[in-house]
Symmetry: D2
Subunit: 357 residues, 4 copies
Amino acid sequence: MNTFGRIFRLTTFGESHGRGIGGIIDGCPPGIVVDPELVQAELARRKPGQSKITTQRMEPDQVEFLSGIFEGKTLGTPIAFVVWNKDQHSTDYDDLKNVYRPSHADFTYEKKYGLRDHRGGGRSSARETIARVAAGAIARTMLQSAGVTIHAYVSQVGDVLLEKSYRELDLSLTESNIVRCPDPETAERMIAKIVEAGQNHDTLGGVITGVITGTPAGWGEPVFNKLHAELGFAMLGINAVKGFEYGSGFEGTRLPGSIHNDLFIPGGQGVRTSTNHSGGIQGGISNGEDIYFRVAFKPIATLLREQATVDSGNNPVTILPKGRHDPCVLPRAVPIVEAMAALVMVDHMLMQKINQH
Amino acid sequence: MNTFGRIFRLTTFGESHGRGIGGIIDGCPPGIVVDPELVQAELARRKPGQSKITTQRMEPDQVEFLSGIFEGKTLGTPIAFVVWNKDQHSTDYDDLKNVYRPSHADFTYEKKYGLRDHRGGGRSSARETIARVAAGAIARTMLQSAGVTIHAYVSQVGDVLLEKSYRELDLSLTESNIVRCPDPETAERMIAKIVEAGQNHDTLGGVITGVITGTPAGWGEPVFNKLHAELGFAMLGINAVKGFEYGSGFEGTRLPGSIHNDLFIPGGQGVRTSTNHSGGIQGGISNGEDIYFRVAFKPIATLLREQATVDSGNNPVTILPKGRHDPCVLPRAVPIVEAMAALVMVDHMLMQKINQH
Amino acid sequence: MNTFGRIFRLTTFGESHGRGIGGIIDGCPPGIVVDPELVQAELARRKPGQSKITTQRMEPDQVEFLSGIFEGKTLGTPIAFVVWNKDQHSTDYDDLKNVYRPSHADFTYEKKYGLRDHRGGGRSSARETIARVAAGAIARTMLQSAGVTIHAYVSQVGDVLLEKSYRELDLSLTESNIVRCPDPETAERMIAKIVEAGQNHDTLGGVITGVITGTPAGWGEPVFNKLHAELGFAMLGINAVKGFEYGSGFEGTRLPGSIHNDLFIPGGQGVRTSTNHSGGIQGGISNGEDIYFRVAFKPIATLLREQATVDSGNNPVTILPKGRHDPCVLPRAVPIVEAMAALVMVDHMLMQKINQH
Amino acid sequence: MNTFGRIFRLTTFGESHGRGIGGIIDGCPPGIVVDPELVQAELARRKPGQSKITTQRMEPDQVEFLSGIFEGKTLGTPIAFVVWNKDQHSTDYDDLKNVYRPSHADFTYEKKYGLRDHRGGGRSSARETIARVAAGAIARTMLQSAGVTIHAYVSQVGDVLLEKSYRELDLSLTESNIVRCPDPETAERMIAKIVEAGQNHDTLGGVITGVITGTPAGWGEPVFNKLHAELGFAMLGINAVKGFEYGSGFEGTRLPGSIHNDLFIPGGQGVRTSTNHSGGIQGGISNGEDIYFRVAFKPIATLLREQATVDSGNNPVTILPKGRHDPCVLPRAVPIVEAMAALVMVDHMLMQKINQH
């Protein structure tokens, strides 16, 4: 149950304070050029210590490929890779061995498995997403060759909301600031909000918006595996995510059909739609318009404050977590959202090959 | 790509105007008592023509089991079943053979497959959900034996919103009215709204809320297949769904962690939480509290109005659909939401057996 | 666990004396012309009562397609089909309800599932292979378009052995006699042997040889899913099969490498091999030469003789089966072997599309 | 396509001359004690250089676990492991870059993927089986706790045949000699045969027999995934395997049903059979008797002799392989056969949990 995808399949492994985090990509076609620096660049966007608003843990997060690549190209065989764990302060967690941190997975893992690695959250740590970002970088390379681009950005932090739609923004500005919001003015307010939360030993949630352009019409599956259902599944599998909507989403439920329907119009290079409430997907299959979606992240559960909880004997205790933690996960989650979207899209790109003569 | 689940696996088949709709359940354990009337009762909740606010098509939707059940009990072998199509007015669709209905799947199916069954939407018709409801009824029987109950209700229609949380409602009232909203006063307003939309030849969307009680702690999977990710995937795979959120959802993104965290407290029969922003799931695994979620449905695309669109030659045309259609899908979608939730939960119930000694 | 294949996936259902036998093919590409008569012709080769050396049960075995085909072509959606059970004499089995027939699956099914449908072997009946033959007929159509042909024939019945290799035979003669052996003289001896066994109320086993020609180099998978491993898996999943070998097989284990190796030679249209001990597969992947294999069938377990056994209370009893049974399964198993080979080959044909640019 | 199993799933990676060989076990239940020395001991049985009749390459083959184990027990999370490649003489293969070695996978890999890692056979090298042996050691631990033991031994080398059945042998003697044949006298003859072949720069094939004892009745699946079909699939996926038979196998096809049938008899602790032509499996499901099977291995393709072949330009060339190679793979394949059998059996053990109340 640690595998994602059907054709392009990623299986991940690793605990936060074990030997390392990594994965195997099975089903990647042969002959794809893999640029390790490009993979590393995506990991750099995810890694801790990248700015004043992220955790100050310094993890080099250097990826090492173990198989499946020869003379710079994929062989068609499994691509294994690992990022070794360094700078893990496991003793920070000694006090938490028999205690359940509020809104973390300590309690549920113990109920599921009967035992757990308590250090840094073990397998439940978001450090596992390293493997997704690495694999997503390869998926993205393949999508770019097909003209498909994926872009995500922070559109809400706590109650600071970016009011503009993605069409009104210059998405190339996303990486120009540390919060990864393409609107500079809103970005400033978000950063201030996060700094304030950090000073209060509190944490913030928010929303990330994703935009996929250039998808040909015809990708997706009609019933259970609708393209948006797989995107939603991918996003909801990211740590701290509480919701997903695409196209008109929850807001669109208030519109009547006469306004919501996207009318087809003749386009120069084929059929287009006049509006895009469908979010580029109709009946689970891409229609060639932009795909866009929103992902809700809860505030991080680790507070550097004293909190009441219980221990494994069902006794009340208080905890005060140590260590270095993010006050807001959103900026570092942007490359994770992009990676998961890339994994979904590349899988459907490959599946659609089977329908083609 | 028409299979749902890993252990308890449903594969569905059928086009709207083909011979029938049905499926195979593979992986259902042996010895489960199957009451055909109970399955039929769930299908009756889904079927057209059940009230003045649904389509007036009269489809008997009688389920016939073909295998896997002997002397009233499951054999452990595949359970095949079919609901024969009757009362299909295929000629209603003759004019639509080469035309793409707005916000339907006509265009995308043709792009994916190169051909399509244009009658009644073919495979893209929500009639496919018959198979899900039938299978869900069996899943539900198994869950009830384990003390797990699933309940869904309509909590929004267009701009009519049920303001109360599920804890403030008497969920046993859901079936007491035709819109399936457990608050009688709000139900009245919803019904009026739907009647009005129907008269205007317009359609409405809305929200269905789901509540699962009695889940033991420990169900779910930690990484990609988080319990809420699978619930979200299941819901997003239902026709017309545009969004999914669980627990505190999108609203919770505005709360700081100091308020959002659910503190653990000693309970009489084990660990509990003081609040439930987590929606009963932490780290992707159930914690024993109620699981609750919301599902967004867009307004139905079929309007009995003239609309502009294009034909398969990329030429502008106008269409005026014939036939009998729902002005609002929500009341009939309640059993579908419950069925999909049941399929997810029973799969995780069975998977958790593997971890147990 | 009733699904075969990865891309072209067949899920079968049905008990011998239930409503019917059938299946769903999911993953069949769109636009394939399906000729129902061609499917029916394959079923006719499998069906009982076809000659004096098969069981005299008369089962029409008429296939009915329920979905996935429109105007004679596949839609890309699931193809469901059923063959209704007729002429079932369920009362023939009343005496066997609590008794385990020797070398049948009665005892093991009861141990696995805790209950069973005792009528005609229930799910363990070879009647289940109807679904495989029907699906195989469609797979075969697709393979033929790609120039791949599949041919099987009876090469041993009891101790009557066809000494010639497939290269020395005119395979077009296989259907010219009722035992399906392409060597007329050997066929006569096989038929006499089967007639004699039937008169003695005894049964016979034997061997079926399969030959696949026209496979392009490059089909298969390198590690677990080697092309021959999947062929072997497919054959060993047929009722009564006890062994599988391909290419030089068990005999080749006695040869030294200096003789066994197939030397590559330059061919007019690409690389060829001088001999074919490899059976057309090297490293699990086709090399363009003929693929050939042998499948061992045990003698059928149902004897019309009194035999000692035990009942479900572990008490000794004797049984004397009633009904109409084959003295030798081989002639009717030829189309089943071909169907399973077709399912394997079409799956690898489709998978290889993913590697192609 | 590099994953084996459904519940207990092994995904392997690695090329012969890449960074290493390894895998991820996903689905291993929590709380299993893993003894790294026991895993290492199995690898020692497989590794090169262990005796005068194996290749003299010295590969330490030390396994390193990267995840999934904490304080000596499995966590229920993915168990990743790697064996680093050392002592690889990649330059030995420089001459073979554009040449296809006879009866190797060089040609077919190039046809499948369009490119290949030519060094040491790349992914097609039997070095990949390291990962299977390591995972099999863990599977075996679990089976032993359930009373299931797996034993394999060499029963034929070239034309030297061990005539006794497994019941007549003292299987504890298997490890007492370097060829792994439990009959000391036959072992001597086999060893002499291999030494002679090595001196002639030739290679030998043979047969390995496997025996599984202690399996409870009820493991397996009825249709495609019959227990013996999965064992056969597992064995046919091992490098150089050409055939598989179980129970009475190919020989049994000559017996009439009246002799072949295994009569049930009342046993002290439940139902038994008087003979065991069924090889412990009936209808694809274990019946509690011993499971036994035979696996055919062709002679190794690498000869230290000059051989004719062609290059990638379809031109005739001759090759003379360098390096250190086994004259007979059988002794080192015994732990591989056992490992693959263990992977199959543990998967069915876990699956059967789902049927149990």
